[in-house]
């Protein structure tokens, strides 16, 4: 609490991002974990909760007559603009938030205070929910070609690699250790994915320390061993995911890439994915475009183009496709690396896995995949997501790009994924929220040292418990689209702007009726109908056979009109600003939102319940309802309500 200089400010205005004239007045509270804005309007209890760990940047603008403005950008792309009456108060809030949003020590992270009063024993099932070894077993490993190596126990060979690694059967510890000495950060070639069907494998590593001419016999033997582990193939691909120029530049620093002359039977290939700095700037530029106030179509399209974001997404997907095709269609193993092998390599390997293996397109499968290729292989979440006060140059939306690639694939293959976009967006939020321990730290060694399994909760089991929210109604395991390799089109027009993520909090921009939610509701109803059908059949049989036995039964009246379900129809009633400020008064009148909302009350109350049960925590009041734990569309306190009532 020592960082909170001012716990409460009255008469704060929260400006509507799109039309600032529509603002809400309320009280701003700072707690240890959240900033909370409570609207003062009579009758509505409208709250906006923002986790401190989600705050990305704070901007205090010059004071005006109406007060001082504080602009808060969040890592989940929420933007809040508060106007605080007194400069002094604004200053205090600003300083407090600056400190609160940038913890200096890991133990200040939200996950350590989130539902803390549960002992490690109780937490264990949460963390045991996903088992990486089970995934390798699913791939058919270990087998006669690949073995589990103990060489990296206690992280002795590579401190950023996991302890358990699969290597070719013929790779001896001296070869592995020798190879690791010839690779950046000791990240020697190791298995990421193995195809049971044709023995082709995806392996990953960091760049070789080849400089202009250096060689390493063990490293060459290591690649030879990988090649031999695929008995049907007489060559393998080595894919360097960097632009060629970047790789060449690395040679001057004693690093570089494999020389085809030194390694037997490799085909070397560059795939130009840009580095973390380019990606960071690109996303920043795109977000500037997303945040423009009433942009023209040209502003938006030009901005989107010049940000280069979709170009980068396409590059990552293209690389994934190259690898997936090599494995599935050619039966050739691939070694993938970039510089350190934890950013681009991770993206590309995991995208290839999604394309290759239907399992990774299920709820559980995607979680395992992130656990395997991202978490266990040492994607530096703490640095890339800026969990702790650190070097801003280390920050980069590498995982965002992976999630977006999956989303782009879902758009092309609507029946192929068990999960929906809400699942991806929820994962995205929690990668940054620090509410769960999964994405804390930069590698397995750090996570073990932090005791995350003992002291924090796991996102995966939370998502699994709430999986009903994340199911794609169009998915069927036996659908033809679900099977085998996905062959997406990579024509530029197949890539779309992901509005649901980047403009997530601009409610007015999204479709007002969700086909997916409609279908889910129908499916739920279908399930109930099945049960009724069975029970009716049973009753009829009973009545027909043993009439004297039967008991009067009241037929349960079934609400026929689909589903007791509505869209956000109140939203349908809210005109936007089409006038460019033509009408001076507030353009929307309150119109019967009450009757409409009662129809929705079922769903709403349900979501409040599920919300609360998730959040039973020791922290009173503060944790009782976090906006993060529910998706925005279900959030009962959404500003939707305020929108139509304002």
């Amino acid at each position: 609490m020592e960082h909170i200089r001012l716990p409460k400010v009255d008469n704060v205005r929260l400006l509507d991002r799109i039309s600032p004239r529509r603002s809400r007045v309320g009280t701003l509270y700072l707690t240890a974990t959240h900033t909370i804005f409570v609207e003062n309007e009579a009758g509505v209890r409208n709250e906006t909760w923002v986790l401190h760990s989600l705050v990305c940047s704070l901007e205090k603008q010059a004071a005006t007559a109406s007060g001082s403005s504080l602009l808060i950008h969040c890592k989940n792309f929420q933007v809040l603009n508060f106007v605080i009456p007194r400069e002094r108060e604004c200053h205090d809030v600003h300083l407090s938030l600056q400190r609160l949003s940038q913890p200096e020590r890991p133990d200040e992270l939200y996950c350590f205070s989130y539902k803390p009063n549960i002992d490690a024993e109780e937490r264990r099932p949460e963390w045991d929910f996903l088992d990486l070894r089970a995934d390798y077993r699913r791939m058919g490993l270990p087998n006669s070609l690949w073995k589990l190596s103990s060489v990296n126990q206690h992280y002795k060979v590579s401190d950023t690699y996991p302890a358990d690694l699969f290597v070719p059967e013929s790779a001896t510890p001296p070869v592995i250790v020798g190879s690791s000495k010839f690779r950046s950060r000791g990240r020697f070639p190791t298995l990421s994915y193995y195809s049971k069907e044709n023995h082709a494998a995806i392996c990953r590593s960091s760049q070789p320390l080849s400089g202009f001419s250096a060689r390493c016999l063990e490293d060459e033997q290591m690649l030879e061993a990988i090649l031999r582990s695929n008995p049907h193939s007489d060559f393998m691909y080595v894919v360097d995911t960097r632009p060629k120029l970047n790789a060449i530049a690395n040679r001057a620093a004693g690093k570089g890439y494999e020389n085809e002359d030194n390694y037997s039977n490799i085909k070397f290939q560059f795939i130009g994915i840009e580095n973390i700095h380019v990606m960071r700037n690109s996303q920043q530029k795109m977000m500037e475009v997303c945040e423009l106030r009433s942009p023209s179509m040209s502003d938006f399209l030009e901005g989107l183009e010049s940000s280069g974001w979709l170009k980068h997404i396409k590059a990552v997907l293209d690389a994934g496709i190259f690898i997936a095709k090599a494995v599935a269609e050619e039966g050739v193993s691939v070694l993938v690396h970039c510089s350190d092998g934890w950013d681009r390599t991770t993206q590309v390997c995991s995208v290839a896995c999604v394309l290759l293996d239907p399992h990774y397109r299920t709820l559980r499968g995607l979680m395992v995949l992130i656990e395997k290729d991202w978490i266990s292989f040492g994607h530096k979440f703490s640095h890339r997501c800026n969990h702790l006060q650190g070097d801003p140059k280390e920050v980069s939306p590498v995982i965002d790009q992976f999630l977006e690639c999956v989303w782009q694939l879902m758009e092309q293959f609507p029946c192929a994924f068990e999960f929906n976009a809400r699942f991806l967006i929820t994962i995205h939020s929690h990668i940054y929220s620090c509410q769960y321990g999964n994405f804390i730290g930069n590698n397995q060694r750090e996570r073990t040292e932090l005791g995350l399994r003992e002291k924090t909760h796991s996102l995966w089991s939370y998502l699994w418990m709430n999986r009903a929210d994340y199911i794609n109604p169009l998915y069927r395991p036996d659908h033809s689209q679900t099977q085998g390799l996905l062959r997406p089109s990579t024509a530029p027009y197949c890539f779309k702007f992901w509005r649901a993520l980047y403009n997530r909090f601009d409610r007015g921009m999204h479709p007002r009726q969700s086909v997916e939610d409609y279908l889910s509701a129908i499916q739920e109803e279908t399930q109930q109908l099945k049960e009724q059908l069975a029970s009716h059949k049973q009753k009829i049989a009973q009545l027909e056979q043993e009439q004297e036995w039967s008991v009067p039964q009241k037929a349960v009246p079934f609400d026929k009109s689909p589903t007791g379900w509505t869209f956000c129809n109140d939203m349908a009633n809210t005109p936007q600003d089409y006038t460019g400020g033509f009408f001076t008064s507030s353009p929307c009148q309150p119109r019967a939102p009450i009757t409409l909302q009662t129809e929705e009350s079922n769903k709403t109350s349900k979501s409040i319940l599920s919300n609360g049960s998730d959040q039973e925590s020791g922290i009173a009041d503060v944790s009782c309802r976090s906006p993060l734990s529910e998706d925005s569309t279900r959030d009962p306190d959404s500003d939707e309500a305020a929108y139509s009532a304002s």
Binding site: M297, L310, K539, A572
Partner: protein
């Protein structure tokens, strides 16, 4: 003239047809007066039946003695025919060119087409102005149906019957007509039942440079205002364009002469700009390059999405004025293009009836066909035409695109699915039906289209077609639906512009899956209901159950 004169080679064997995302077919190519037909003469193989009027342009290429004709269609499809023999190929190409550019209306296919289906309801009679007026009369008695234009003399592009304020007599209307572009005096476009506000449309006032004024015009439009209320005139031109129109005899309603009206200028592009935009957009979509930058910059440069945004925004503004309790007059220059985009879209937003299949047909009839949108001129050529555009413009296609945008944002509020919009688009450019022939009711009457051709609606309004075009998600939504016009919310209409450039297999499967989920639910509901009835019957039959 005989078609045979134009067909130099009616038949060629060994022609290979290439279509996007379909296997190539080898077969016999036949040319008839109205169709290009390719048949492999095998059972179960899909044949090509292409209307000549659907062909926008052709290109020919020769490699040795093998000729290739690239056929570019108005529905944006591109197909390729490999024809052995240079002479045959040249003959075919010349014939196609001649047949596809015939502009004698009475030789068009609709005059030769005989329906192979039973006409349940004659679409020509489904949406007569008289019937529409009867509906209006149930809501208000402030309007009357005028026959002032019964000979198409007062306004050649208007239908014989139009709804006008009750207190305005036909003489006044004649005077007003002489003050409005094309004789298009203000007529009722839409009556908003909820609050009695109206939307009217007209041509621009002919004020000219010296500010000519017409008391009757002022009287007419003021007659639509409630006492003490102001109305809005939405001019679909920018203020500059509107001012410049004065030099050519046009103009704007000055505030001095129309004190009860507030004028709003919105920039909706004129037709020649739209045509150029369509050509650029389709060119971008067909670009084979894999560069993202190139695609996005071409998409942006086409300005198509900008037009969509402008039109939708203007329609939303008009709808908002009405919803907030003010009457509206919409016009641009002629009042037959951008004006109709705005008035028809505003109705989609405001009036749930327009979101049904039948209501949408009625809207197209009232606000486009009877309102005198010159379909014949606008849809003569589409995006591939090399010839210099004259009157061509995708005004109607843009309207359909805007409807699709709203449909995307309110996927459960429309009775029809996207395929209905695509169908209407196709038929507006080339069709066996007579609906979109001609530029006005007068022209259609002169050609006796209702007697000599079949209406598109006769075909659509049959159970099997309706079922195909119905949106399985539809649940009547009686509310006004306000779409988002943010650039992030407006998408490229893939169903039209990328239709032939990417495989739709996966999306079609998803649609089928969706239909399946809903059908299965209905099936179960029926079963449960019938069992419930059976159960109830058993229970009443069972004497033991009668006693508690």
């Amino acid at each position: 003239m005989e078609f045979a004169e134009l067909i130099k080679t009616p038949r060629v064997d060994g022609v290979v047809l290439h279509r996007p995302f379909m296997p190539t077919v080898e077969g016999t190519l036949c040319l008839t007066g109205h169709h290009l037909i390719l048949s492999s003469r095998q059972d179960n193989t899909e044949e090509l039946w292409l209307l000549h009027s659907n062909i926008d342009c052709i290109e020919k290429r020769f490699v040795g003695s093998l000729g290739t004709i690239i056929v570019k269609c108005k529905d944006l499809r591109v197909i390729q025919l490999d024809i052995p023999g240079m002479e045959e190929c040249l003959n075919i190409a010349n014939s196609i060119e001649a047949l596809s550019t015939l502009d004698i209306l009475s030789l068009m296919y609709p005059f030769f087409y005989r329906p192979m289906f039973e006409v349940i309801e004659d679409g020509w009679k489904s949406f007569l102005p008289l019937d529409a007026f009867k509906d209006l009369e149930t809501m208000t008695d402030e309007w009357r149906l005028s026959e002032v234009n019964k000979d198409f003399i007062v306004c050649p592009s208007y239908p014989p019957l139009v709804a006008v304020p009750k207190d305005i007599d036909d003489d006044t209307l004649r005077k007003v007509a002489s003050f409005r572009h094309g004789g298009r005096f203000p007529v009722l476009s839409y009556y908003h039942k909820k609050n009695g506000m109206v939307m009217m449309r007209s041509g621009q006032p002919l004020t000219g440079t010296n500010g000519r004024r017409c008391k009757e015009d002022e009287k007419l439009i003021n007659a639509t205002l409630r006492p003490g209320k102001r109305g809005y005139i939405i001019d679909t031109r920018t203020i500059n364009v509107a001012q410049q129109a004065k030099a050519r005899g046009g103009g704007i309603e000055s505030e001095a002469n129309y004190p009860q009206w507030r004028r709003i200028h919105k920039a909706v592009e004129r037709s020649n700009v739209l045509q150029e935009s369509l050509i650029k957009l389709v060119e971008a979509c067909n670009d084979q390059s894999h560069s993202m930058d190139r695609w996005l910059s071409k998409l942006e440069a086409s300005n198509w999405q900008t037009h969509v945004k402008e039109i939708l925004t203007t329609a939303c503004l008009a709808a908002q004025c009405i919803d907030r309790g003010a009457s509206v007059l919409v016009h641009g220059t002629e009042g037959a293009d951008s004006t109709l985009q705005v008035t028809s879209l505003a109705q989609i937003i405001l009036d749930p009836a327009c979101r049904t299949i039948r209501g949408f047909q009625s809207l197209v009839e009232r606000e486009w066909l009877q309102a005198g949108h010159p379909f014949q001129q606008r849809c003569a050529q589409s995006a591939y035409s090399n010839s210099k555009p004259r009157q061509e413009a995708p005004v109607f296609l843009l309207f359909l695109d805007c409807v699709w945008q709203i449909l995307r944002q309110f996927p459960c509020s429309f009775e029809f699915s996207e395929s209905f919009l695509v169908l209407v688009f196709e038929h507006s450019y080339a069709s066996q039906f007579g609906t979109f022939l001609g530029n006005s009711t007068a022209e259609r009457a002169k050609l006796s289209l209702p007697e000599k051709t079949v209406s598109l609606w006769s075909w659509v309004n049959r159970p099997q077609e309706l079922e195909r075009l119905t949106n399985p998600l539809y649940e009547a939504n009686s509310l006004v639906i306000w779409p988002s016009v943010a650039p992030q919310s407006l998408l490229l209409w893939e169903g039209v512009f990328l239709r032939w450039n990417r495989s739709s297999k996966c999306l079609d499967e998803a649609y089928e899956e969706m239909v399946h989920i809903i059908e299965y639910n209905k099936e179960l509901q029926n079963k449960v209901n019938s069992l419930r009835r059976q159960l109830a019957q058993l229970e009443t039959e069972d004497p033991l159950l009668q006693t508690p």
